[in-house]
Symmetry: C2
């Protein structure tokens, strides 16, 4: 649609059809679009600007914890992918294969990277010789291809963008510490920047990364009550170092295999922001990742260009100087009401309206996107108040999401209760589990719920005296179950 | 090699074997490494940190000129690539093809993007309807694959990283203005940030981008006298808008095809920095893109940890606060001399040594990487003097490169002179040219020199009364010829 036809229409209410509501926001807020290739999306400038903010804030944390960025090849020879048995089994069904280059058939097929452990393993074996070379703390920002059957913009796409950390350590303990340090960093990132509370813990063996010794994850609850995995951190043990022969001479001149980790977060986080915070008027962006934090809208009456516009432009300067991301929407072909709806759809956290009467009164009108509350603010206090309101919005989005998570985390001690909750209320269900994969499979087949995560304080002692909801045997842990994306 | 074995050895002198010198710097400064896949390199953290600086400085300029970033798919259906006749002919020989995904053969082959005009053209035709949607000023940072036969790290690799701008305009004039604005931006970038002077102008039809109406480029002279194309800016005219049906309703309600441009710079710029500034001790990095601008080296004697180290750490704080990128190299397993050689190899612009006698004298010793000059500086003046010295180094690298370019740009009015210069001196040769492709082909076949660029002031009138060095007919322009990478 051209700008003049592109009226902001009512979107499907979230409560009526969550999937459709999500797809409509993605389109109408111009976050992403479909392409003729199934499951491959294009990230439009507004969506990409959210990703750029996420990227910058995550990259700062990755570097502050001592990691450096590098860039590894897009392709991985098939023989490399086959070196780690679980890895090839897990990823082969999802690989896109390059079989010809420059008019010639290749002798060996090349995988378009579904993840980079295999090519990085080869290079680490070249680079690492001594304990003095350790730890290796590398990260890369890259595109990834996985041939997915069911796709949805941002949440599950054939191509996506991510960061993947790949580290090597002298000891098993250091690798485990790194894995958990990153898990904590991801949790803090989601809660601070995305205003999304998450549950952190380990995955079950069924749900772990193909080739990992142990996978940890953070899981969030979306506002339809389904869980979304927001990031994973894997302790790879020596699985890949043995497969790729990554050895170092230790402090006692003995050759040892390195201990590795890998960890990642993706453009899926943009989808999480939509689903955790959006409402029936569209997106509600957390100010810290919003491309536009404040939109200034002149209310055009009479000689507004002489009276209102200068006040709006002065306000823009003031807010920019205060370090805020500001947009002035002075387009004349749209009414204020049309603009309000558009910027609500795009989730701009704070709208500031200035009309002829406001100029006379020396004030502006603040309208918060999250709760739609109005507040007159003296022009002299714009910057201070805007910064404070943005902080309030960030905190209030987080508080609402946390309340939602608390309200939708329930305990079920029996399978009947468990099924009832999943059928009628969704959310997280905390239930005792025997630790067996068979029970996990059976519960999944019967209820579509999987074990999302087992936090450390839900292991062993926490389950004492309780019985598995599926088999009735002694429980080993209290697991967080949910239906998930 | 492990760190303790990895002694900085003498590299092949530049004058003896330029190619080997280049390859050795890439390896020994740990900028990049080879992979088992021909032509695919891995960019190691130190090389990637240079690229991150380039990226940030370029991205700032791209955004300051009103462009926004987006992300388009990695794959392009073969049928899309075929829509623009010249484009498919130019790129097909270089394409890597995905033919299978997730265990199934694809119905249509997908090209791994060799450039993105074809997929972007399809999307622009969906998004653009009215003159109100114009101009579209998009850029993307992405990886690109071209199946190259002869490769060299950074300069020509099967996969490389780049930014590609893709814009749409209402009129032919606006598109031409955009093309030239970007060309000027690229020139200013290379000269300001990379300290590399470039010649800007148009390409000949033989050398233009496959599908462009006119290609402009910036060309630099490397220190072996060969030219390197540092960036291109294409006026696409309506070639792609007609192929992809990108139409808009103009201000008179008439349907028109949009006018487009595209433009790009790549990781090749890292190679240019090596080749333009490096010397027999290794890299010489321009301070503005150097990952480490200042390396602080304590001279360890006696109780240096009580005397020297605190002074070094205080200096680090002071320099960091002044916004400089600083590294302290206090490793005990290496001698100062070893460290000097390593940081020279890595091109760190400024080395600051502090030893016991310096602490007593309240000073530090500055050593400039570019000219290896030493200078004692009072500890109280560290930050001010370091910033000034870095500016001097940046300016002095540029001045040296400009002098080299001037000294190696010669005029040849006859083919005999032309061949003599190329055979014995290399560099740019400015010669009158008739404008014919046949002469261009003949000169290339006989001398391996191509027309790199024709600056605006070398067109028409500038060539008046002069004759083509190849055919003797009336000259239409004075062209910059050179052997090139």
């Amino acid at each position: 649609m051209s700008k003049d036809e592109r009226l902001v229409k009512q979107i499907t209410p979230k409560s009526e059809d969550f999937s459709r509501w999500y797809a409509e926001i993605v389109q109408k807020a111009e976050l992403a679009d479909y392409t003729p290739m199934k499951g491959m999306m294009v990230i439009r400038p507004y969506g990409y600007a959210i990703w750029e903010n996420i990227q910058r804030l995550m990259d700062d944390r990755i570097k502050a914890t001592g990691h450096v960025n590098a860039y590894f090849p897009l392709f991985i020879p098939e023989s490399f992918l086959k070196k780690e048995a679980e890895h090839v089994e897990g990823f082969t069904p999802e690989v896109a294969w390059v079989t010809a280059g420059g008019n010639e058939e290749l002798e060996e097929r090349l995988a378009v990277r579904p993840t980079s452990e295999a090519i990085i393993g080869y290079l680490y074996s070249k680079w690492i010789k001594s304990w003095r070379d350790l730890p290796i703390l590398y990260n890369q920002w890259a595109n990834i291809v996985r041939w997915e059957k069911v796709t949805r913009p941002f949440l599950r796409t054939t191509e996506f963008l991510w960061q993947e950390g790949h580290t090597c350590h002298e000891t098993a303990q250091e690798a485990e510490e790194e894995t958990l340090k990153i898990l904590a960093m991801y949790k803090e990132f989601c809660e601070t920047e995305l205003a999304i509370p998450v549950i952190a813990g380990r995955k079950t063996l069924r749900e772990k990364f193909a080739g990992a010794q142990m996978t940890y994850a953070i899981e969030a609850l979306m506002s339809d009550g389904k869980a979304l995995q927001m990031g994973t951190s894997h302790n790879l043990g020596q699985h890949f170092s043995k497969a790729f022969d990554i050895k170092f001479e230790d402090r006692n001149q003995t050759l040892q295999y390195v201990w590795q980790t890998s960890w990642g977060t993706t453009t899926r986080m943009v989808g999480a922001v939509i689903m955790a915070h959006g409402d029936d008027s569209g997106l509600r962006l957390p100010p810290r990742v919003a491309p536009v934090q404040v939109v200034l809208i002149p209310i055009a009456f009479g000689n507004w260009k002489e009276t209102v516009l200068p006040a709006v432009l002065a306000a823009q300067e003031t807010l920019k100087k205060a370090g805020l991301r500001v947009l002035v929407d002075a387009r004349e072909e749209f009414t204020p009401g049309w603009k309000f709806a558009e910027h609500e759809m795009r989730g701009v956290p704070l709208r500031i309206e200035i009309g002829p009467r406001d100029v006379k009164a020396g004030q502006a009108v603040f309208v918060r996107r999250d709760i739609k509350a109005k507040e007159p603010v003296p022009l002299g206090e714009l910057a201070v108040r805007a910064a404070a309101v943005l902080d309030e919005i960030q905190a209030s989005l987080y508080a609402a999401a946390l309340k939602f998570q608390d309200d939708n985390t329930r305990v079920a001690e029996t399978y009947a209760d468990f099924k009832d909750i999943l059928e009628n209320r969704r959310g997280f269900v905390k239930s005792p589990w025997c630790g067996g994969g068979e029970c996990e499979d059976k519960i999944k087949a019967e209820t579509m719920a999987t074990i999302r995560v087992i936090p450390p304080d839900c292991e062993g002692p926490a389950a004492e005296g309780r019985t598995c909801i599926s088999c009735g045997r002694e429980a080993k842990a209290i697991a967080y179950f949910a239906r998930a994306y």
